[in-house]
């Protein structure tokens, strides 16, 4: 007879069973061991797991899932924990299934141009393994030195190069998945044609709620023959956005189109990430072009001309790899630079139609000022993906309240402009109570049908994506967001 679920005896029995499956060294349960797993990159949202397990093989994952089911304890998959929406937080005492030991590149097939990898392989390692064949894995989220392919699949990760190459969903051909029942299935195919319903398409971006990915077959693309990086200095964000609009309207598809606002420039230049940007610049536009050399050379001149016509004070072209890195430092150093201003950094993520960027950015800055916050903007301008960053100190309860209130206003502003509340970070626990801004009950109910077909018991990563309350955010102020943040 097993102990009743939820009791200390049943927890001990589950731990014993997990140790039996994985060996004692691969099961963490002491409070000090669990501390690091209480949150992911969104440190405001926390949850205490019952245990953290470190499987090495699919069969172990499946056995862990079956053991959890038998004990009535939910489970949550976790990669490197770099997610920014609370997707890897253990709620309801879930067992964290940490996939970082499943870190083998199983196959690089240059003929089919695919890589077969375990979920714990770090994103950048796929490209490293493919490089000798002249190939790379295109999705490159900012955390690519740390984040894992399993996490990328769960979150449908993007990155600065999605404008041209698409997000993770465009690069996953097949998956091996441990279903919430513990059964193992293989979905999709190397040809890219789904066999039946496109279950791979449904699983990518489902935030770890439909099962645990134990193997991914991903598409590899050729390393471009040529890359050119331009840095345009603009008097203001409006003119930088105008240049972006002109570039898109001209039919150019750069690999990246990134804007850094004046507030971020100031922070970057005052930090170790200083990229030599003029402090009086109103905005910086970073454009990366890649492809065949003959095409890139012509595009470079067009982008330069369009930028100047839009009002750029200066347009520099990186002369070598070192200078390219310096240009990118202006963009990639933003998080580090903003992070040093205060103990905590809130990286927001929302999308608006790109023609609405100037007005939305003005609103976002106004909101930040009104709440007296240190807010700055870097964004994937080509696809209208904003990342307002707010530096703050969460121990300051008043500031924390202002951060959360400003965040909500920012999301509402983006939705009112025809946008959405996440472009690449996911919903997780962070934005679940804002889903009502975009979707009605029937829309959410359709999504629940998908969830229920895979996980009728809601055992896999429970408490995510869907609103915690059936009340509409409009009608019930108490139900408004961040219900999980502890504010004294």
């Amino acid at each position: 007879m097993s102990a009743a679920p939820g009791t200390a005896a049943s927890a001990a029995a589950l731990l014993a069973r997990l140790r039996g499956i994985l060996g004692p060294a691969a099961v963490l349960a002491r409070p000090e061991e669990l501390l690091a797993y209480e949150c992911d990159g969104l440190t405001l949202h926390r949850g205490q797991p019952t245990a953290v397990v470190l499987p090495r093989e699919t069969a172990e994952v499946a056995a862990v899932v079956r053991a959890c089911n038998a004990a009535g304890v939910p489970f949550v998959p976790r990669g490197a924990g770099t997610g920014l929406s609370g997707g890897a937080v253990a709620l309801s005492g879930a067992v964290v299934i940490e996939c970082q030991r499943m870190n083998r590149v199983l196959e690089i097939d240059p003929e089919d141009r695919v890589a077969v990898v375990q979920p714990g392989v770090v994103n950048v390692e796929v490209s490293k393994a493919a490089a000798p064949h002249g190939l790379l894995f295109a999705p490159d989220p900012s955390s690519q030195q740390a984040c894992t392919v399993g996490g990328n699949v769960a979150e449908n990760s993007g990155g600065p190069h999605t404008l041209k190459y698409g997000t993770t969903t465009n690069h996953v051909l097949a998956l091996e998945l441990v279903l919430p029942s513990g059964e193992v299935v293989r979905l999709g195919s190397r040809s890219g044609a789904p066999a039946g319903y496109d279950l791979v398409g449904a699983v990518v971006g489902s935030e770890g709620t439909l099962g645990i990915v134990t193997e991914a077959t991903v598409r590899l693309v050729p390393i471009p023959e040529a890359v050119e990086t331009l840095l345009g200095i603009f008097p203001d964000v409006v003119s930088a956005c105008r240049a972006v609009g002109a570039i898109i309207r001209e039919g150019l598809v750069p690999a990246a189109l990134e804007i850094v606002d004046q507030r971020t420039i100031a922070a970057v230049e005052a930090s170790v990430y200083a990229a030599g940007l003029p402090l009086d610049a109103g905005a910086v536009l970073l454009v990366e072009l890649d492809g065949p050399r003959v095409a890139v050379a012509a595009q470079l001149e067009r982008v330069r001309a369009l930028s100047s016509a839009a009002g750029a004070r200066r347009v520099d072209v990186a002369r070598d790899a070192a200078e390219r890195q310096r240009f990118w430092r202006a963009r990639k150093g933003a998080f580090g630079a903003m992070g040093r201003l205060a103990p905590d950094l809130y990286v927001h993520d929302a999308v608006v139609p790109r023609t609405r960027l100037p007005e939305v950015l003005a609103r976002v800055c106004e909101i930040g000022d009104r709440y007296a916050l240190r807010l700055s903007n870097v964004f994937h301008a080509g696809d209208g993906n904003l990342h307002p960053n707010i530096s703050f100190d969460r121990r300051d309860q008043d500031e924390l309240r202002r951060v959360l209130a400003a965040g909500e206003e920012i999301l509402r502003t983006c939705v009112e402009a025809g946008g959405v509340i996440s472009g690449e970070h996911g919903i997780g626990t962070e934005k679940q109570d804002f889903m009502g801004l975009l979707f009605g009950e029937a829309d959410l109910d359709a999504m629940r049908r998908l969830r229920d077909a895979f996980d009728p018991e809601h055992a896999c990563n429970p408490g995510k994506v869907f609103p915690t309350t059936r009340f509409c955010v409009e009608s019930d102020p108490k139900a408004r967001g961040y219900g999980r943040v502890e504010i004294a």
């Binding site: 066999a195 319903y197 279950l199």
Partner: protein, 427 residues
């Protein structure tokens, strides 16, 4: 026969203009006497709610260009047409996005988009094909090499579920992870999970330059095709064997296989790739109707004496797959890792072969299964006479996820209102 009271209920739901009674149409073996063509989303929702309530099943149709795709329906009481859900609601030339209603012919969208410098990333075999039909069928056209699959063009979808509830997913922006990506599930579901009402589409800039080329080949060599498909500007690569080549290039010298290649992109790249193909394969400019010919070959019903099947395989196994099917007319699209084959179901070629107990249909399916295994992929019989489909699954062997797919159908359409029986595994 649908009783008069039920007809009245449907007329009330769909709208007085939306119901047409006619002599039975034989659609995939189902004698359908009633066509419902709701004119807007609310009417579509009410129509589906009424069908659910009455326990009736609908065969869902756009322009009907791919109505032959799928298994014969287990049941079909009415034809539910999206023809009146027509029109381009938004064409945003600044953003490069469009909102299009399901029954809009894609030829219309192509024209409107081209007028402002864009093109849809959808390549139907016929300009009459509708947005809803092409997305539901989920099959890429020849330009899929550059465009991807129909699912990749979708930013957001408005759908009506079998219950009549109208739902949406995604949005109008080009990057979005807000909620589950249900559009991926609906695309390619052959209308068995929901009826598409409208879509937000991502458009692509019209290419600066294009070139349409043909090259004679000794045979439909997969390796040659894969190399051509990997050129930077390749957008169509189709290899026809000697039997099909005259259909694509009637004026070319007979007897040899043929490559049809379309290049598109920046002018210097297209020029460089065209030079490369000229020197490597002896490629020359093709008549401008060559792509229409290719699409016609892929769309044409095979008649009563043959079936047409598509195989999706591993690119590196395309040649092995083709070898199993040698002797039958073959069309390879190496950039899509797919191959089309026409297998005889009657006549001399079929009669000569005495395997599989002399049943030519069973033999054709067996051969497709063998070829799919050789290619480490799958087959689907895209078009065949009804008799050849009955009692078989045109999608071949069930895949591993079949139980999940059944569970999905159960959750989305528990009563079996939408195209019951047409999808894989009898879903």
């Amino acid at each position: 026969m649908i009783p008069p009271a039920a007809r009245e209920r449907l007329r009330e739901a769909a709208g007085p203009e939306a119901l047409a009674e006619h002599p039975p149409l034989e659609l995939e073996g189902a004698p359908v006497e009633l066509t419902l063509s709701p004119a807007d989303g609310p009417a579509l929702g009410r129509t589906l709610a009424a069908l659910s309530e009455l326990g009736l099943a609908a065969l869902v149709r756009g322009a009907g260009t791919q109505l032959g795709l799928g298994n014969p329906p287990r049941r079909a009481d009415v034809l539910l047409s999206t023809a009146r859900l027509r029109g381009i609601e938004v064409l945003d030339a600044e953003e490069g996005v469009a909102r299009v209603r399901a029954g809009t012919p894609l030829g219309e969208l192509r024209q409107a988009a081209a007028a402002c410098g864009w093109e849809p990333s959808l390549d139907p075999l016929s300009p009459e094909a509708t947005l809803g039909g092409v997305v539901s069928a989920g099959v890429p056209g020849p330009r899929g090499l550059a465009f991807g699959r129909p699912r990749d063009a979708i930013l957001g979808l408005d759908t009506a579920l079998a219950s009549g509830e109208r739902t949406r997913c995604g949005g109008r922006v080009v990057k979005n992870v807000t909620g589950y990506d249900l559009a991926k599930l609906y695309a390619g579901s052959l209308g068995t999970l929901a009826v598409i009402e409208a879509a937000w589409l991502r458009l692509r800039p019209l290419p600066e330059a294009t070139a349409l080329l043909v090259a004679p080949l000794a045979g439909p060599d997969a390796r040659t095709g894969i190399e051509a498909a990997r050129l930077a500007s390749a957008r169509v690569v189709a290899l026809a064997d000697a039997a099909l080549a005259p259909r694509l290039a009637p004026t070319a010298a007979g007897g040899s296989a043929l490559a049809v290649i379309e290049l598109a992109g920046d002018a210097p790249v297209v020029a460089a790739d065209a030079r490369e193909l000229a020197s490597r394969l002896g490629a020359t400019a093709a008549p401008s109707d060559t792509l229409e010919r290719l699409r016609a070959v892929l769309a044409e019903p095979p008649g009563d004496a043959a079936l047409r099947a598509r195989l999706d395989v591993r690119p590196s196994r395309l040649a092995a797959c083709a070898a199993v099917l040698a002797g039958a007319p073959l069309l390879l699209q190496p950039g899509l890792a797919s191959l089309h084959v026409w297998l005889p179901l009657a006549g001399e070629a079929a009669a000569a072969d005495r395997t599989a107990g002399g049943d030519p249909v069973a033999r054709a399916f067996e051969r497709l299964g063998t070829a799919a295994r050789a290619g480490a992929g799958r087959f689907v019989v895209e078009a065949a006479p009804l008799r050849a489909k009955q009692g078989r699954d045109v999608f071949g062997e069930p895949p591993e996820g079949l139980a999940l797919m059944r569970a999905l159908k159960q959750r989305f359409d528990p009563q079996g209102v939408l195209n019951p029986g047409r999808f894989l595994g009898g879903i």
